[in-house]
Amino acid sequence: MEKKIEIEEKIVLPGDFICTTEEYVPGSNTYNNEGGICSSIIGIVKLDDKLHKIDVLPLVMVPPEIKQDSIVLGKIILLKNSFAVLNIERVKGYENRSANVEGTIHISNIQLTYIKTIDKAFNVGDIVKAKVISNNPLRLTTRDKNLGVIKAFCPVCGEALEKKGKGLKCSRCNTIYQRKISEDYGWGMF
């Protein structure tokens, strides 16, 4: 018999019986109910005959899942001596749904080189792209070329800052600020 992956046409709803546990192993978005595998979400059934696994591919927008190595986007809401707090708004892969959780970036995880004070890297209101180190507690890092501030505004006049060399420059008041800038600064790419 040929072993293959099959996707069924029919839409399943939460609680719909899919098959018994003897036939397949429950995969994502399913749960075990008295020997039967049921769907826990609105979606379509994917049967994997190779792994004998059943997944439900969601048709709904599922809540974002933040795990290790997830890329997140948010706003700096607080600066302390040794860390910054980021209010995570979006998670990569779940762009249409807001996450709204808080994570911290420790000063040692901002960049590879030494940094004297945290305000040399971030300021309150900066929009930062970061990567998740651990989920409980939620710790983040920007130790990569494409991670860091992707948009910032002048604390004096509110103008959007422009990238100038290694720093950021305000075109209106000509002040230069030091930040941990991402390669994608001002580019709008997630």
Binding site: P14, N33, I41, I42, V60, P63, S98
Partner: protein, 243 residues
Amino acid sequence: MEIDEKPERFIVDGLRLDGRKKDEIRPIKMEAGVMNRADGSCYIEWGNNKIIAAVYGPREVHPRHLQETYRAILRYRYNMASFAVDERRRPGPDRRSIEISKVSREAIEPVLMLEQYPRSSIDVFVEVLQADAGTRAAGITAASVALADAGIPMRNLVSAISVGKVDGEVVLDLNKIEDNFGDADMPVAMIVESGEVTLLQMDGIFTKNEFIEAMELAKRGCSQIYDIQRDCLISKYKKLDSD
């Protein structure tokens, strides 16, 4: 239908005042995903009831001390608009709506897999725009569809309906006159596929046999509601799937 006094008889020639049979439910219109800013939502028109339910989350819990380490918390707010009833209602939560919020939350909670989202909250808002008896049942029905629309993992959908007694007979899905002047009113919420009852309240008096009959009727009513909930969700996602 404007009747302020108790009618002489509720059932004439086997038909109720609004022309329904004893085991007939009012017409229901349900639509999922009606609100842009909510993660999931549902609008329901059940007879003259008009209710909108919105779901937000899982999201961070504020105030922080309410959060639980190993599971999400469910918050349910049932609120009736000041214009929802004939005489203007004082806006804001009152004794009645606080109670309904609590029992409705407990009716929905058993189907949610809250343990998958630790330290977060799932917020359900149920706004009654027009009330005509059976709003808590309609609210639970709509909230359950809204939660499924929000993509929150659930074991099943919850369906709810009310049964009551008028003229000494057990009837399904009371309307306003029957509710105000009838002898008993019993909202029931259940998980239709497993037959588990998640909400059972009673106002008035049923005899033992009447209670058994009422539960049977409620079971049949809930399975009709369940079919409507399924149709509502499938029609929405079939459209999305084919696009």
